[in-house]
């Protein structure tokens, strides 16, 4: 079936199988940041934006994206880098495999709630699993980033 998807700002028409998953669609279109960590919507690694809302691309059919815009980390490099520096300064990226989904969801969170509390951060990101870091370093990275933004905004 033919679908029209705006992938990272680029509108394109594709012929896809009706049962193709969005994760396989975006990876087939070169968006290799999107990772599969499970098959049961538990890990958060495959998070992408569908019309600017975070979704698990392993649980969405590509056909569902017809007429919509899809954003992956490839389309958010600048925004991601600004935040990612703070995680890098903690060494909390570790193996990196969960990073793209995590960074996507952090961006989504901050768009919804620019100044979240620690509890709100934990709740929002509860679906993003990480087996390396114990989450502490990721949290320190987020808090330091928010701190920097607050101080920057005051100036």
């Amino acid at each position: 079936m033919l679908i029209t998807v705006t992938l990272n700002g680029k509108k394109q028409q594709s012929d896809v199988e009706p049962d193709m998953l969005l994760i396989d669609f975006v990876r087939a279109h070169g968006c290799l940041s999107v990772k599969r960590g499970c098959e049961t919507s538990n890990c958060g690694l495959c998070t992408v934006f569908l019309d600017d809302k975070p979704v698990l691309s392993c649980s969405v059919l590509a056909a569902r994206a017809d007429g919509k815009s899809v954003t992956t980390l490839e389309g958010l490099q600048e925004e991601a880098s600004e935040f990612a520096e703070f995680v890098a300064d903690q060494g909390a990226e570790q193996c990196g495999f969960c990073n793209p989904g995590f960074v996507m969801n952090v961006i989504a969170m901050l768009r919804e709630n620019p100044d979240p509390s620690e509890e709100e951060i934990k709740e929002y990101l509860a679906g993003n699993l990480c087996r390396c870091s114990g989450y502490e370093g990721q949290l320190r990275g987020i808090l330091n980033f928010l701190d920097m933004r607050r101080r920057r905004d005051q100036i």
């Binding site: 290799l32 940041s33 999107v34 990772k35 960590g37 499970c38 098959e39 049961t40 538990n42 890990c43 690694l45 992956t72 980390l73 490839e74 490099q77 991601a80 880098s81 990612a84 520096e85 995680v87 890098a88 300064d89 903690q90 060494g91 909390a92 990226e93 570790q94 193996c95 990196g96 495999f97 969960c98 990073n99 793209p100 960074v103 934990k122 709740e123 990101l125 509860a126 679906g127 993003n128 699993l129 990480c130 087996r131 390396c132 870091s133 114990g134 989450y135 502490e136 370093g137 990721q138 949290l139």
Partner: protein, 762 residues
């Protein structure tokens, strides 16, 4: 120090965080055949007939292989990544007529895409002769059901293995007369503990792609911790010369020991070797949960003897370990259950440690961070906590009385000297961090909840003494930057960066001036691989030695350019100068340039290192938990840890290692479990059932360092990777006791068990 002991960013951090395509499946050629496996639904069966005719007719199918495609006389092999001759028995074939657990491989199917492969798999007709499975590991030794009855089963090392008894290994060691010691003790704690198999659950499942290169050789790219062992395993499995195999690893999405076993490599290797076409395999999460290489389930019987004054005099440990259907890492993991728990107690005058490792018709076990020490420490540390309660002593005070100290010989640790140890300071530090005296043992919060604390100690090794080999090659390039080539595998841990920090410290350059490449069997100098907490200590030392030698060579070429004797010149990282006349100097840039024109002094050095000792890192951990008196719900509110890993080469990365390891240990203590139904099928086959901690399951983890200085390590460093997973199970179990009043001897400790405990909270 300028670079060592600094929390510099990991060299690959920003690439990883911004989602660059650097992992196995990102790099696999698009034209790869998709490889999938038909797996056995039976725990113990013999394939009587297998028909692939209809499956082969599916459009797009390239090949289907069954046990008939394995040549008669093919030798068995192990998938364990260990130094040859491997202690793990040679008990596998790629495809065998006898399948030994639910999930064992029956057929390899390769085709153009996933759909046709799935269809073909569903069309393969197999007739099994179903045999009674051996599922209970306590009944396995000398059971009439044999997991490996075959005659070509082989054990290469004297580990006490006997396939006709279901024995993968047996060992005994002791010092002093333990029976006499225990008979003289005022009190003997005599308990049996049970730790379950748990999954590493790295986020990237097992995966490999293979191609044939320009020389007709098999080129294997895999998510592996062990490129060199992997080359041998593949050659053994396929029955082809090792010269025909090259293995390299890109970025790895987590390992934790899982990828110290060649779980996925042999299947696409087989397909590509026979079809000469590129192929890849990606394990599903379900396969990674049901047919992989989890921690060995163990039953540990501890007898701990002490006097009324708290002096621990003897420890007697018997460990029964379940290796499952195959023996990967069976003989070695069990050893750590005793040799890395008993030596914590330097006061003990005698010990005995006996172990059996048995085969069963369950998923094969393997290497997982902690590697047996985790299981042993749960038992021994729990027994010591119970002793403290029996004696009415504070558990920290009891430890202070009995711990091993720097300069002492550790009889149960291969009689090695304790060369560097801050365990005493770790105890003090954690006591302060958690505010122990105020919180121990428990407080009723008045809202239906109880808060309590518990603690434990841990140790591990730093590489395998006399066995593990680390190497580094350093080269000076034009303009004066360096290339560091290693065979160790950075699996997210940051060893590429840590080793570059060590080289930069010696060469007095910026870490940006060192490019790191690894690991590739065709290019890298030999390294056993990244496991056994070896990389910083063993390969780090090789890197230090290598950088020192390169310094000397640079100085030699610089001196000859200045026209002075080698011993009259010095190098300061930027230039070689004459010692007496520092203004006479030649810049590194010019030395590098000169090294590429009319030069006879190689500015490339390889150094190899192996250590005769394995200095233990030590740590102390303490948990504060909150338990709901009605539901038994338990939350780790705070976890405190003080770690002695020697010098922290990179404090940021050491901290994250500790935080991550502690949370894995908390998972093992409270939620993670692999259980089987009566037919031997794993019930926790996805992340839906197998519950690893999320960020809402933990309050905070607080890590501090109490460093000793290890003379044999690079800049005083020991290891950090494994020791950090060991304290949560016993610390949390004791915290639960301190709140509930009931001891738990089996993991995980669940809210149901707490809620159902008799006489609780009395």
């Amino acid at each position: 120090m300028k670079t060592v002991n600094k929390g510099v960013r990991k060299k690959d951090a920003m690439q990883l965080l911004t989602g660059k395509p650097v992992y196995t499946n990102d790099l696999a050629p698009a034209e790869c055949l998709i490889v999938k496996l038909l797996r056995s639904p039976h725990a113990n069966a013999v394939i009587e007939d297998i028909n692939t005719d209809i499956a082969m007719k599916v459009k797009g199918i390239e090949a289907i292989y069954t046990w008939r495609d394995i040549p008669e006389g093919q030798m068995r092999f192990t998938c364990a990544g260990q130094t040859y001759p491997e202690p793990s028995p040679y008990d596998r074939l790629i495809l065998d007529k006898h399948v030994r657990f639910v999930g064992d491989v029956v057929a390899i199917v390769a085709g153009e895409n996933e759909k046709c492969v799935d269809k073909a798999i569903s069309l393969i007709k197999v007739k099994y002769k179903v045999l009674t499975p051996l599922l209970d590991f306590t009944l396995a030794k000398d059971n009439e059901i044999l997991v490996h009855p075959e005659d070509n089963w082989e054990s290469l090392c004297p580990v006490g293995a006997d396939n006709k008894r279901n024995l993968c290994a047996h060992d005994e060691s002791s010092s002093g007369d333990i029976d006499k010691t225990l008979s003289e003790c005022d009190i003997v704690i005599d308990r049996t503990y049970h730790t379950k198999a748990v999954q590493q659950t790295m986020m990237e499942t097992f995966r490999t792609f293979c191609t044939i290169d320009m020389y007709g050789r098999l080129n294997v790219v895999s998510s592996t911790q062990i490129v060199f062992h992997c080359r041998r395993i593949i050659a053994n499995a396929l029955g082809i010369p090792k010269t025909m195999v090259r293995v390299s690893k890109p970025r790895i999405g987590g390992g934790f020991g899982a990828k110290q076993t060649s779980i996925s490599e042999i299947y696409p290797a087989f397909v590509t070797w026979h079809t000469k076409k590129p192929s890849k395999i990606l394990f599903s999460r379900e396969e990674s949960m049901t047919a992989s290489t989890p921690r060995h389930e163990m039953q540990l019987h501890v007898r701990l003897g002490a006097m009324r004054d708290g002096r621990i005099r003897g420890i007697d440990l018997y460990t029964l370990s379940n290796t499952g259907a195959y023996g990967e890492h069976g003989p070695t993991t069990v050893g750590l259950s005793g040799h890395k728990s008993i030596p914590l107690y330097g006061s003990a005058e005698s010990f005995r440690f006996i172990s059996d490792v048995v085969y069963t018709n369950r998923m094969s076990a393997g290497a997982y961070r902690g590697y047996g020490a985790t299981q042993g420490l749960f038992a021994v540390e729990s027994a010591v906590n119970e002793l403290a309660a029996e004696l009415g002593m504070d558990p920290i005070a009891l430890r202070e009385l009995n711990i091993t100290r720097e300069g002492e010989v550790m009889p149960a640790y291969y009689s090695q000297m304790n060369t560097s140890c801050a365990l005493d300071r770790c105890l003090e530090r954690v006591k302060r961090m958690i505010n122990w005296d105020e919180k121990y043992p428990c407080r009723d919060m008045g809202n239906g909840k109880v808060r309590s604390v518990g603690m434990a100690m841990a140790m591990q090794g730093s590489g395998i003494s006399g066995v593990d080999v680390g190497s580094a090659t350093l080269r000076l390039n034009e303009t004066g930057f360096y290339t560091l080539n290693i065979g160790a595998a950075d699996m997210g841990t940051g060893c590429d960066t840590i080793l570059a920090q060590i080289a930069a410290e010696v060469l007095e350059c910026d870490i940006e001036d060192i490019n790191v490449y690894g690991a590739d069997t065709d290019v890298s100098p030999y390294d056993s691989g990244s496991y056994a907490s070896s990389t910083t200590y063993v390969t780090g030392k090789a890197t230090e030695m290598c950088a020192l030698e390169l310094r000397s060579r640079i100085c030699e070429l610089g001196a000859s350019m200045l026209g002075v004797e080698r011993d009259k010149a010095e190098f300061d990282g930027r230039a070689v100068f004459v010692s007496d006349e520092p203004e006479k100097r030649v810049e590194l840039f010019d030395i590098a340039t000169a090294s590429m024109c009319g030069n006879n002094i190689a500015l490339a050095v390889t150094k190899t290192h192996s250590s005769e000792i394995s200095p233990p890192p030590f740590m102390v951990g303490a948990a504060e938990v909150e338990i709901d008196k009605e539901t038994g719900e338990i939350e780790v509110v705070d976890y405190y840890a003080a770690v002695d890993c020697g010098t922290t080469i990179n404090p940021n990365l050491a901290r994250v290692q500790a935080e991550g390891g502690i949370l894995q240990g908390i998972g093992m203590a409270l939620t993670e479990n692999i259980t089987y139904n009566e037919n031997g099928r794993v019930l926790e086959n996805s992340l839906m059932q197998y519950k690893i901690p999320t960020r809402v399951d933990i309050g905070h983890i607080h890590v501090e360092f109490e460093s000793s200085y290890e003379n044999e390590g690079p800049f005083g460093a020991k290891s950090i990777g494994e020791v950090v997973i060991n304290t949560p199970p016993p610390a949390i179990a004791d915290a639960v006791y301190n709140a509930v009043g009931k001891r738990f001897y089996e993991l995980p400790i669940t809210p149901e068990q707490i809620a159902n405990a008799e006489n609780k909270f009395e």
